[in-house]
């Protein structure tokens, strides 16, 4: 842009500065205050929690559950939103160490690179609990326990329900699968669990499996092609509710009735998914619950008292059929 030469450099600098401030301002607004003085020793437990971010309804429900459970359990919670950045999370954990909180809990943004900061927490004598996601540290003594969903089990529960439903089927049952984002742990594990479960019946066959990137638009677009390429689809297994919801539209557009012509199984049990299940458009959902707050507070009390806890604890989860969804729907929080 040669003609701009006449403009002063100051203007450009000011604009860049303004833009940086804008970006910084947007990024900063979810950050809660993690500063402040140390904790007094009055027997009350103080927990420092660093959340991944607020990227989905699931995550928001997770945050609310932790905040509510802390209030209910009388635990003082210092909450920090890491905005999907590991450095924010490390900074927050170091803050918690300085403030001498009783327990540190966090959902790691990524798996690796935690050894140093976890070592610092250990040296300070503060127990660490991982939630929802794990870390790949070789030294397992760096954290007390990992509380989170077992994705393989979720896939397995979905598969087992199908095996039970189709045990009388004499002919082949054609299954199509909508995978989550390629390479993501939930996608890999749910696929694995489901495949293991349906191996029990040789009639059950996955005839097509594609990624829908965990999104409605992705699920819909892939399902449209599945329907055109395969005249006989009996079952759809989607790795999350959203892809299933997208696929619903494709199935309806193809002139088929979701839930009847095609049995639909999904994982997650978010509100929109539960609504579809209650309406009979879905047939079965294996829950992946974000509501691990109460379990986390229990664990915090236990580790504070010096009790031994198992190294791996699964979130309490269930499965839903259409009837159960109708009952559970009015109280669904997310």
């Amino acid at each position: 842009m040669g003609k701009m030469r006449t403009q002063s450099v100051r203007w450009r600098a000011a604009a860049v500065l303004a833009s940086v401030l804008l970006v910084g301002g947007v990024a900063a607004c979810g950050n809660s205050d993690t500063g402040g003085g140390g904790t007094k020793d009055d027997g009350k437990i103080t927990m420092g929690f660093s959340q991944v971010g607020a990227e989905s309804g699931w995550r928001t429900a997770n945050t609310i559950s932790i905040k509510e459970a802390a209030a209910a359990a009388g635990i003082e919670l210092k909450f920090d939103d890491a905005q999907q950045k590991q450095e924010n999370q490390i900074k927050a954990i170091r803050n918690y160490i300085q403030q001498k909180v009783d327990v540190i809990a966090f959902s790691p943004v990524v798996e690796s690179g935690w050894d140093t900061v976890l070592k610092e927490a250990k040296d300070a004598g503060i127990p660490v609990i991982l939630t929802d996601r794990s870390v790949d540290s070789a030294d397992k003594s760096l954290y007390k326990t990992f509380l989170g969903s077992d994705f393989v089990k979720e896939g397995k529960l979905a598969g087992e329900w199908l095996v039970e439903q189709k045990k009388t089927a004499s002919g082949p049952v054609n299954i199509v699968e909508l995978q989550g984002s390629t390479g993501a742990a939930p996608a890999n594990d749910r696929k694995k669990g489901f495949a293991e479960a349906i191996a029990a019946n040789p009639n059950l066959k996955v005839i097509a499996s594609q990624t829908g990137d965990f999104t409605r638009a992705g699920g819909k677009q892939v399902m449209e092609q599945f329907l055109k390429a395969n005249p006989k689809i009996d079952v759809l297994f989607a790795h999350n509710d959203d892809m299933g919801l997208g696929a619903l539209e494709a199935i309806t557009a193809a002139g088929k009735v979701p839930g009847k012509d095609i049995t639909i199984i999904t994982i997650d049990a978010v509100k929109d998914g539960m609504q579809a299940l209650a309406d009979g458009k879905f047939n079965f959902i294996a829950e992946c619950s974000p509501l691990l707050g109460p379990q986390l507070m229990d664990l915090a009390k236990k580790v504070k008292d010096g009790q031994e806890v198992p190294a791996r604890i699964e979130t309490q989860e269930t499965t839903f059929t259409s009837e159960q969804a109708k009952e559970a729907l009015p109280n669904r929080k997310y």
Binding site: K3, Q7, V23, V26, G57, T211, R216, K220, Q221, K228
Partner: protein, 356 residues
Amino acid sequence: MNDTMSRYRTMIGHRLFWPAAVLFVMLAANTIYRPGFLSIELKDGHLYGTPIDILRLSAPLILVALGMTLVISTGGIDLSVGSLCAISGAIACMYISKQPDQNSLGVVVTALAMALGVSLVLGAWNGVLVAVIGIQPIIATLILMVAGRGLAQLITEGQIITINSEPYRAIGLGHALTLPLAIFIALAAALLVAAFTRRTALGMIIESVGGNAMASRLAGIRSGRVIFLVYVISAACAAVAGFMMTANVSSADGNAAGLWVELDAILAVVIGGTSLAGGRFFLSGTIIGALIIQTLTTTVYAMDISPQTSLLFKAVVVIAVCLIQAPAFRARFSRRRRNAPPPATIVDKPKEQVPA
């Protein structure tokens, strides 16, 4: 004999020949893989089949790529279009979801007007950064690409907003004359842009600004205004594409709507023969480019290529398309085969000057 030969030369010399040939080969390969690929049937009073899906799904990309074509032809680039899609969809869906009667036409029109208005303001922001303040386009639009997605999530409060509005749904899924409404909207936008750029002097002015902004200014063209204008047009195109994307699934997902569409759009523009250095543009090429990209995506699903290999498959096809499109590569390839330089291609397409 000589006559057919020269006609053949003219045909392969045409800038749309190679993109069209690629599209044809892709459709043919799909048809060989599954003979029913191109079949279309009438269902519920409208056409139904994979080609219709490709048309409908490529409509948002065509829109975004149209705006991108104009921006690129001024020598710029607009990375913020994906975030703009998310913002416009989020505003429209959020407003509709808050209304008591979501099916009211008035509500939908208000929602669209609001979302479009905000998008135009954001487009103007890009335009001011580039044209008035003189920031490099890639940096100027990067700001909104990053911040815009955060903005979209602030609007939706991090949730997926589901709506139940028939008029809004029609933007993505409605039909007219048995064909998807979305493709008519994209086509109308394309005709509008073509009319404004090719029936008036605007297109030539844009190209001259892209060729050399300083020289154009000295020749009496207000380069700054033209550059500002193309970013606003690009934002408007992205906004309408955002409506289509969200209407397609009746929900706004601030996180996923329009994700990476800016890259697809740039690719469509390049495949269509528009130079990234600016100075010339081909709207029809861009449309074919967008169709190629959507056909490629659909091919992956239709052939059920495993997700692990599909990215590699796409990369190989894209590289092949870009090489075929490059006159220098074609010239070298045909020289090796025929052992003589083909005069037509080299004379037709002189090597472009990239301004330093």
